[in-house]
Amino acid sequence: MEEEKFGAIIVGAGPAGSTAAYLLAKEGLEVLLIEKGAAPGGKNMFGGRMYSHALNQIIPDFWDQAPVQRAVSKETVTFLAGDQAVSLNCQDLSWVSPPYHSFTLLRAEFDAWLAAKAEEAGAMLACGIRVDDLLIKGGKVAGIIAGEDEMLADVVIAADGVNSIIAQKAGLRKKAPEPHQVGTGAKQVIKLSAEAVSQRFGLSGNNGAAQLFVGDCTKGMQGGGFLYTNKDSISLGLIVGAGQLQKNKYRISDLLEEFKESPHIAPLIDGGEVVEYSAHLVPEAGLSMMPQLYSDGILVTGDAAGFVLNLGYVVRGMDFAIASGAAAAKAVIAARAFNDFSKQKLSIYQQFLKESFVLRDLEAYRGAPHFLEIQRMFKAYPQFAAGLVSKMFTVDGSPPEHLMGKALSHIKKSGIGWAQLAGDGWKGARNL
């Protein structure tokens, strides 16, 4: 008797894995979706917001059925410097009618929902199983090994997250990412009433707010803070370059507590109750940390492939994960027509990624990670911006100075060189 063999085994029931499983199951493939957590989402966390466009392509009007928290109507970027905080704030109410621009989410419930969609479509979901290794036959990936069990498949899709052990086992990634390629994120979910959330952020109905912070919150280290409003809680956290904490002798858990106490945050979370503390790595180096995306019998998707884009004012991960899961499914379907899952046939995955926005956008913003490594972005510029704008609003009887003069004298005082300012401005405008 022939051994049972799946059309595809997908490792990891996050957004990339569940999307691939959903689409492949819909095509009638025998799909096994393996999740190491006790339930999908149990190991997953993110900042707090998903841009809708990618999932809406796959499950139109998903918001009618998915456990979303709030549709984001308000975007804010805030520079923090001591007593001063200067924000750029944008509200666009077209974002909160269909097709909703973005939603805040909680991953435990959302990922469980998406995995259930894959199950409904016919995928077999197996939770509480850690994939230990890949089954290699004749130099090709032929399945997975979990404990004593071996399972065969035409193709394995690695959707096992930023630490992708599977991509490494397949030899697609040589070793763990470098410290400068990832950020350590830490987050607290803080429970409040829905009314308090709406009132404190000036939100009507179930509209939501997303806010990013730069400056004091990371003590000038590369990284920043984030805040997302859920229905009746707030996701508040920090991301700091993984290599930076040791150098500066800070612990991110302490920094987050300090951030919560700062006068810019404390009133927003007053009376709230912390219901979870979580941490995760964020791939931040874009294309420069991308592993080989495919080989004989295997594809790599989502965070495992480093598909995250951070522009400082926009941070995207889930839309990339979902679209890359979809591209992987498409590639498997294409390879299946030839019953050939060789590296050569699966190479069409890369083409699908380029045709979707995934590689197109990562390539367009290829310079962003490098630009955001400039130390001035995290201390000198936030101080400069906050100081200058504060001065603009200050009336204290001192002699008048026109805006140009204010700006010039402020630049002089900041210690940022003209050449640096011009260079950074030029680079920023071109790369972000």
Binding site: K36, R107, P177, K249, R251, H280, L281
Partner: protein, 95 residues
């Protein structure tokens, strides 16, 4: 809001600790040769501590499974890192 210690924060989280198998194992002989010991600052759960005799103390219970230690460890072979066995470890209820 009152400041919370890392012990209090981890106390809020839900873990299924695997008493039989540690998912992260240190080679303390290698750790002893590491001058900077970045793990003692970088771990968001503060599970790596510096004991008075300079040795690294480590407890895998309370691990949030982020992988920071694996990435920042400068010594090859010092940290053997894998996820906990299926069903064990951190269980995010919100995420």
């Amino acid at each position: 809001m009152k400041k919370l210690s890392i012990e209090q924060l981890l106390g809020i989280d839900k873990f299924a600790v695997d008493d039989e198998e540690a998912h992260i194992v240190l080679n303390k002989e290698i750790c002893a040769t590491c001058p900077d010991k970045p793990c003692t600052f970088a771990c968001p759960a503060c599970l790596y501590t510096l004991k008075e005799d300079g040795e690294i103390g480590f407890d895998y219970a309370g691990c949030l499974e982020c992988g920071t230690c694996r990435v920042i460890c400068p010594k090859d072979g010092a940290i053997t890192w894998q996820y906990p066995r299926g069903g064990f470890g951190i269980n995010f209820r919100y995420g």
